[in-house]
Amino acid sequence: MNKNKKITVIGAIIIISLSMTSVSGFHTISQSISVIEQQKKNIENDLNDVNNNLIVVNGQISTINNEINHVVEYLNENISELEKLQSCKRYEMQDPTYSDIIKFLINDKTNEKSYDYDTFNCANYAQEVNNNAESQGIRCAYVEVNLSGGIPHACIAFNIIDKGIVYYEPQTDENVNLGIGKDYWADCVVISPGYYYESDPDNIVEGFTLYW
């Protein structure tokens, strides 16, 4: 082989080697790039998922925090109401027996007060006896009696055990058999023997209302 041919062959071998090396090198690097790009894409997807998850979880946290705020606010209102109700007085009422009423009316001195149409009238008597009874745990009703004369009267009532509703005149502590169409003082009030109230066309009972 002459020198020229030798140089050509060596040159060709070098060129082929260089080309092969380059191609395989490019191939390897391209593969690596492709792998890393895929990995990057996977990580980006993961990151996207995680970020979405984070948004969801943070949303849940925000919702629950709002819920907690509402519950705590409601709870505080309830605690405040609870404390007030726990510390307040309870009123235990009882329907009295007949002897309870007798004892109560004897001890209650409202009937001894002087009547004054302007300052202490029938409504004041009934109010005072009613409130005194209730403060002692005796269930008592304020009774508003409509009379034919247009001026109403007031008395009281108890729901006596075994006897039912019994009415009393608080100015005198007398028993009252209240009935519509009857004269309040002359027919309804049960007075001691030997005494009487005069009939008056303005005192006819037209109706009555009990406020327990």
């Binding site: 060129i15 990580i43 998850n53 327990w212």
Partner: protein
């Protein structure tokens, strides 16, 4: 002839060298570019991995926080349920077992009550254990009836039974001026509504 052969030989050699140099240059620059790309991608990947790690840590932290506040909420709800049950117990009652209500409790009762008859309203209130009073406000023109609650938080609260207007009755003042926000307008001399007496029957 010898000179011509030598010239061709030199040319071939030069072309070979140029091709080789070109190949080396192209390969080297190709490697350089690809390596830079690879390096950039690796950096980006690393950065994304770091970001992912931070985000995952945040998710973990948020999940821990979520669990904590869920437990907290659960506890509050248990407390609330217990309180509501205690409140219901305290609010319960009947005409023989009464208590003074809070204003809120009184309003709740009134809002659910469709009665306008004062006697029935009082009976309803007492049947639910609420201490409710019957009020007679005496004026020159006659007597006007009101409801009253001795509330635990606002003391005596007077109300008209059909409108539920709040009234602050004071002896010597005109009734229309004693109604909160004067829904009927101010009192006039011809109204004859000066309050002379206030009677509260419990």
């Amino acid at each position: 002839m010898i000179t011509k052969n030598n010239g061709v030989k030199s040319k071939s050699l030069i072309i070979l060298v140029v091709i080789i140099v070109l190949l080396i240059t192209v390969s080297a620059s190709g490697y350089y570019i690809l390596n830079r790309l690879y390096s950039e991608l690796t950096d980006e990947k690393q950065s994304l991995e770091n970001e992912l790690k931070v985000a995952m840590d945040q998710v973990n932290d948020s999940n821990v926080e979520l669990n904590q506040i869920e437990t907290e909420l659960e506890q509050h709800e248990i407390n609330l349920e217990e309180n509501i049950s205690k409140l219901q117990e305290l609010k319960s009652g009947n005409e023989y077992y009464l208590h003074d209500p809070t204003l809120n409790e009184a309003w709740e009762f009134l809002e659910n009550n469709e009665e306008t008859d004062i006697q029935k309203i009082i009976d309803d209130a007492k049947n639910r254990g609420l201490r409710c009073g019957y009020v007679e406000v005496a004026m020159e023109i006659g007597v006007f009836e009101l409801l009253v609650f001795d509330t635990l938080d606002y003391d005596m609260v007077y109300l008209e039974c059909d409108t539920y207007y709040l009234v602050y009755p004071v002896v010597g003042l005109n009734y229309f001026d004693c109604i909160y926000e004067q829904p009927y307008g101010p009192s006039h001399p011809e109204d004859n509504d000066m309050i002379t007496e206030i009677l509260v029957m419990w």
